[in-house]
């Protein structure tokens, strides 16, 4: 009907949350290296989130931050794939989605990673794979293996340190 507008609910939920936290989110996007694209990225975040079908979200602000973080990471990966220098990636046009199916490391490198995980020792390898590949929480892993939470934490750190070292090798190749 013609008075449809008046019957619309005011902007609320995630859109209200976006608006109310605009400055914080822009600051976050800038800290995440968005540079001059920060405003555009905020717009894109808005478009994506406002188009999102309804449904309860436990912590909308964290949801928005996570979405923003992933958006920036997508751009970073997209730029790396396009072979741009890292400092230029903020210039990648907003709205251009990354190639979702392209890994930045090769299949051979992945096999290398797999072998290196085994070399961490049985417990560490198991903890890492449960956490990263099976998506189990640290608490659940600790309970399943009968070890302390701090053991799980330190094994994960060890595994991620190894990954960082491998990554630097790959970058030099």
């Amino acid at each position: 009907m013609n008075d449809a507008k008046e019957r619309m609910a005011p902007s609320q939920g995630i859109e209200g949350m976006l608006l109310a936290n605009r400055d914080r989110l822009i600051r976050f996007l800038l800290a995440r290296g968005a540079g001059e694209a920060a405003e555009d990225m905020f717009q894109e975040l808005w478009l994506r989130l406002s188009a999102r079908p309804g449904g309860p979200i436990a912590d909308p602000l964290s949801y928005i931050y996570r979405a923003a973080n992933n958006l920036v990471l997508d751009r970073y990966r997209s730029a790396r794939q396009a072979g741009l220098r890292e400092q230029d990636w903020g210039a990648v046009s907003v709205g251009a989605e990354p190639a979702v199916d392209q890994a930045l490391i090769s299949r051979e490198q992945l096999i290398h990673v797999d072998v290196a995980i085994d070399a961490l020792g049985e417990r560490c390898a198991r903890i890492f794979r449960s956490f990263r590949l099976e998506g189990k929480s640290q608490r659940i892993i600790a309970a399943e293996l009968g070890v302390s939470l701090s053991t799980v934490e330190s094994d994960l750190r060890k595994a991620y340190d190894m990954l960082a070292a491998l990554r630097r090798q790959f970058d030099e190749q």
Binding site: M1, N2, A4, R7, M8, R24, F28, A31, R32, W46, R48, L49, S50, A51, R52, P53, G54, G55, D59, S62, Y63, Y65, R66, A67, N70, L71, L73, Y76, R77, Q81, E86, A96, E97, A99, V100, D101, A103, L104, I105, L110, V113, D114, R129, S130, F131, R132, L133, E134, G135, K136, S137, E144, L145, L156, R157, Y160, D161, L163, A164, R167
Partner: protein
């Protein structure tokens, strides 16, 4: 000098450990310490670069083989490698993006197939290895096969294809019973439950070259209903091809049912059409702006119909 290098290495190692901790912590779906994360990023420019590299590597290793058995010795279900739109565990448009932390929105159909599913309102772009590009509208299912790099199947929904032409290896898009073979092309394909449309904005495509073999030139649109009659060709404005990508949908005599379908897919709005208006032809341009009500207002004004707000969207009616 040597002590400087050693010190730098120590500093970098410390930053790397901190970046690792952030990536590990952010894997927890309940992570909420984004302010502290922002503070950390702002502390030193190196933090950002090391975090990006670390988080990106963390995405890549999602391709590792999943352990064959669960930690308790019993078989476990492999983790979900994909978000299947509405059924995804976050259930939102951003599900794919969010799960990007855990694995991209890919479904392993078979060993070499990739299935990409978007929810209504979500737009994605795929860059193919040969330089071709596919832009995917919402509510769409597209399948690729690494064994057939010059092939895509549009199961449902809409996609714009920018194909790098190779004379001896044409790119083929399958949509329902329609087979579209590019002859150097940019074209938009819509796959509906009962038919297919393809509009060409650059080059030429061949429709079912081994059967009807209809040539669709630039500036033409081909509509075909599954199993009913010959495909129809219309003139179109090439500027309007794939208009969903830029937020402008242009129509000249398209049924309201189809328009509502396009709008729903592109924006994520839920738009139903009552039977008394679904066959009405619609002419005009609709701008998709942030103000979604505005789009509905434009549509109703141009079509001379009404829109009623429903529990989960809109109903177009007389």
């Amino acid at each position: 000098m040597n002590s400087d290098v050693a010190m730098n290495n120590n500093v970098n190692a410390a930053i790397q450990s901190q970046a690792n901790d952030w990536v590990i912590r952010q894997r927890d779906p309940e992570f909420s310490d984004w302010d502290a994360f922002t503070d950390w990023l702002e502390q030193h420019p190196d933090h950002l670069a090391i975090y990006d590299a670390t988080a990106s590597m963390d995405i890549d290793i999602g391709g590792l083989p999943v352990p064959a058995r669960g930690s308790s010795g019993v078989p476990v279900e492999p983790p979900k490698r994909f978000v299947s739109g509405r059924r995804g565990w976050l259930g939102g448009v951003l599900a794919a993006s969010i799960v990007g932390m855990i694995g991209y929105a890919l479904i392993d159909v078979n060993s070499n197939g990739t299935r990409i599913e978007t929810v209504a309102g979500e737009h994605r772009t795929l860059n193919l290895a040969d330089g071709s590009r596919i832009e995917i509208n919402g509510a769409t299912v597209l399948e690729l096969d690494s064994d057939r790099p010059r092939f895509a199947k549009l199961e449902r929904g809409e996609a714009m294809f920018y194909i790098v032409h190779r004379a001896n290896e044409p790119f083929t898009v399958e949509a329902g019973t329609a087979k579209l073979v590019d002859l150097g092309t940019a074209f938009n394909v819509v796959r509906r439950s009962n038919g297919t449309s393809v509009a060409v904005s650059e080059g030429i495509i061949a429709y079912n070259p081994d059967r009807e073999n209809v040539q669709v030139d630039v500036g033409k649109k081909l509509d075909v209903r599954d199993g009913v009659g010959r495909p129809q060709l219309h003139d179109i404005d090439i500027q309007s091809v794939g208009g969903w990508r830029t937020g402008q949908l242009v129509y000249s005599g398209t049924s309201l049912a189809e328009v509502a379908n396009d709008l729903s897919r592109t924006t994520g709005m839920n738009i139903a059409v009552s039977s008394n208006v679904e066959e009405l032809p619609f002419r005009g341009a609709l701008l998709i702006s942030k103000d979604r009500d505005r789009t509905i207002d434009d549509l109703t004004a141009l079509a001379g119909i009404h829109a009623e707000k429903t529990a989960d969207g809109w109903l177009l009616t007389r």
